[in-house]
Symmetry: C2
DNA sequence: ACCTGAACACCGTTCAAGT
DNA sequence: ACCTGAACACCGTTCAAGT
């Protein structure tokens, strides 16, 4: 009898790292980081909690893998951009949007610096900084500033979204409440915060985010030769 | 009999919000966010876990209170600065240093936007941006960019510190390991990351941080009148 | 008013035992 | 090689009962 040429295919519903990651993303999107539980996950995958550990090392590992799946897709699908500046803006906006759609990604990324998801972002940004003419010896500093800013904004937005979710109000009501609290602060101690409370109430996170990117890009632009 | 003029003083070792916060900071400094536990805390304070809930609402509340104590002190003690730019730098560096000394602060702050600790920072930065001549209607955007950047860097550093702690290596060994991993990435896919791996190995977090602040300040500087 | 500490309803992770 | 599920060692939070 010849060796079997028909490979026994995996049971279609058998576990795999990818299926676990996919189910994790669904749980995270549904109910935030608190919703990602080995018990909830194993129930959704019709298995036991122990089975998951055959495919992933631990929860931190799982969170990074979920972030990476989401970030990789965002980086692959973002527009090219006519100039390096436009390309950086496109990358940044793609990241903003993905962190907005999956609020858990921001805080997960913040806890995994230097890991694969961050490396993908650094690569994309770095190539554009090169094209922009940032000198070799300041490229790390430049990309690091952009990355920190992007992750910082993502983290804040994630926290705002989660806060609003827990309190059961929508995002703009939540901003409104914060704005009210700010305008009732002691005028002697917090004059500035009071004065921007109104701006804060109606501000646009996405526009503010892009304004910060432009500030950084302006600082990075090559000096005009004369 | 006249009313007692001697107020019965609190038992010196009785619980209070301040004492709980103080003990929390010690636990957090010792063993990170995982070390802050109601059981560990109540043991250190020689009481039961339930007693703590008389003084604080929950763990999130406690973490914000601990951050606020640490941030308030940093904001009070930071130098004045001769120019608005110098003052912003001084504020930023004070925050960098306090997040470096207490690595849990960065991630705690990232999860509490708009709360008191962040408000303190916004006030301090905002006053300087006014002095810098940033127009009223862009002051929120400007302060928000600075804050996001500062918290972003703080979060990254916190994660690096915690990573190194868990792995039991020191920080620079940890950066070295990451740098090695980066230089072994696929050259076709990650040319930029490979090229900055050496810069990354020897980079100075504090200097990089300040460089980012300067980039933002440069973008915010008033155009030179001619 | 403030504290006690057992109890509740969860966690992540491990591991002997199965197939 | 991969999966099962009970068990372990924890959590944050609550609450009747005390003082």
């Amino acid at each position: 009898m010849p060796p079997k040429t028909q490979r026994t295919p995996r049971r279609e519903d058998s576990l795999s790292r990818d299926r676990i990651v996919e189910a994790s993303i669904a749980l995270l999107d549904n109910s935030g980081e608190a919703g990602l539980t080995f018990r909830a996950l194993s129930e959704r995958l019709a298995t036991g909690p122990g089975a998951l550990y055959w495919h992933i090392a631990n929860k931190h590992d799982l969170l990074i893998a979920a972030s990476d799946a989401v970030i990789a897709q965002a980086m692959d699908s973002c527009a090219a951009g006519e100039t390096p500046q436009a390309a950086v803006r496109a990358i940044a906006l793609a990241l903003f949007d993905v962190m907005d759609a999956h609020p858990w990604v921001g805080s997960a990324l913040a806890r995994a610096p230097g890991q694969l998801p961050a490396v993908r972002i650094v690569e994309r940004l770095g190539q554009q900084l090169r094209a922009l003419g940032v000198p070799d010896d300041t490229q790390w500093t430049a990309v690091s500033a952009l990355l920190s800013y992007i992750l910082g904004v993502g983290g804040q937005n994630a926290a705002n979204a989660q806060f609003a979710r827990v309190q059961g109000v929508n995002r703009s009501d939540f901003l409104g409440e914060l704005s009210n609290a700010w305008s009732q602060l002691d005028p002697a101690q917090y004059p500035f915060v009071r004065s921007v409370a109104e701006q804060f109430r109606t501000h646009d996170d996405r526009a503010d985010f892009l304004a910060g990117i432009d500030l950084l890009l302006k600082g990075l632009a090559p000096r005009r030769s004369r």
